[in-house]
């Protein structure tokens, strides 16, 4: 049973790297998951090594029953994204995975000099809750089996998330 990405990457996604890249790496992740935090380091290393050969996409998969702050953190990334700083918030959240309560999220928004009033009202108003749930539903359909789950060129990567494991996955995908 081959688990494949559904739906494929589109304009609704958060994408780093050019669309011409030969390698497409998609992560379903949770900002409160320690494994995802470590995986973020591998991904950053991979991006530094591969440059424009790879594009990276992040989709939300908050395991909310295990991680009480994960869903709000995902929404915070979306709220920052609405102000053009999704990736900056993504990095801050992973860096501070142990401090993800609402006041923490507000302080990160402050650090990024976002429009705080807007950020706060969108966050407390659950404006991006449906957007996050769309990602979760697509993850379930795609065969996400925990966090992080990676897809390399649309096919689920069943190995680990260390730099070496991800590189091996890229090789297995025939690149």
């Amino acid at each position: 049973m081959l688990s494949t990405l559904k739906p494929p990457v589109s304009e609704r996604d958060h994408i780093q790297g050019p669309s011409s890249a030969l390698i497409e790496l998609v992560e379903y992740g949770d900002f409160e998951c320690p494994h995802c935090g470590r995986a973020a380091i591998s991904v950053a290393q991979l991006q530094a090594e591969l440059g424009d050969q790879m594009r990276f996409i992040f989709r939300h998969f908050p395991l909310a029953k295990m991680h009480p702050h994960a869903r709000k953190a995902a929404q915070a990334a979306e709220a920052a994204g609405a102000q053009g700083q999704f990736w900056e918030m993504h990095d801050l959240l992973f860096k501070n995975a142990r401090a993800l309560a609402i006041p923490d999220l507000l302080s990160y928004a402050n650090e990024l000099r976002l429009d705080i009033a807007r950020f706060e009202s969108e966050l407390t108003g659950d404006v991006y809750s449906a957007r996050v749930q769309e990602d979760v539903a697509s993850g379930v359909r795609s065969g996400v089996n925990g966090t992080p789950t990676f897809f390399i060129n649309g096919v689920r990567h069943n190995g680990g998330y260390s730099l070496e494991d991800l590189k091996e996955g890229l090789g297995v995908a025939g690149l």
Partner: protein, 162 residues
């Protein structure tokens, strides 16, 4: 030994889930059942197979499906594990005689003494409509189960529209 394939009647069982409670497969007729055989409670990763199913429980409920996890762990172990992971579905103890039910489904690992990572979707009449054996170290996710449940629902609506 291979796992039971679609078309077979799902062997009935009556297994304890906690003190004074049990789950009997034939009592669940009328709705789809998802049987999840798994090696053991307390797998040390975050977002393991059962935690994932628990997280997306509402996706299964859309199909009216009942989830039952089965391992060879005893009820006290199941209770502690269930509480720790806040599981919203039952875990059945295939504990005495050990692995009896798993064997009937072809989902017991003789050398290891625990269950395979095997999934069965059972239709409302008690017949296996889908089964899947996953490599023991590979979490199968939920996409296969959901597709199987979707197919069941479609077949049922085709029949009723005839």
């Amino acid at each position: 030994m291979s796992i039971l394939s679609p078309g077979n009647v799902a062997p009935d069982f009556n297994l304890p889930t906690r003190i004074g409670a049990s789950v009997k497969l034939s009592d669940l007729r009328g709705k789809p059942v998802v049987l999840i055989f798994y090696p053991a409670d307390w797998s040390p990763v975050c977002g393991d197979q059962l935690a994932l199913y628990n997280e997306i429980h509402s996706e299964f409920e859309k199909y009216g499906a009942k989830l039952v996890g089965i391992s060879v762990d005893g009820i006290f172990c199941h209770q502690a594990y269930s509480k720790s992971r806040k599981l919203e579905f039952e875990l059945a103890a295939d504990f005495e005689p050990k692995g009896k039910v798993a064997r009937q489904y072809g989902a017991y690992r003789d050398g290891d003494g625990y269950c395979e990572r095997a999934l069965f979707v059972i239709d409302p009449a008690g017949v296996i409509s889908w089964s899947h054996l996953s490599p023991i170290d590979q979490n199968p996710g939920a996409d296969g189960i959901l597709s199987a449940l979707e197919e069941l629902t479609q077949t049922a609506s085709q029949k009723s529209s005839r």
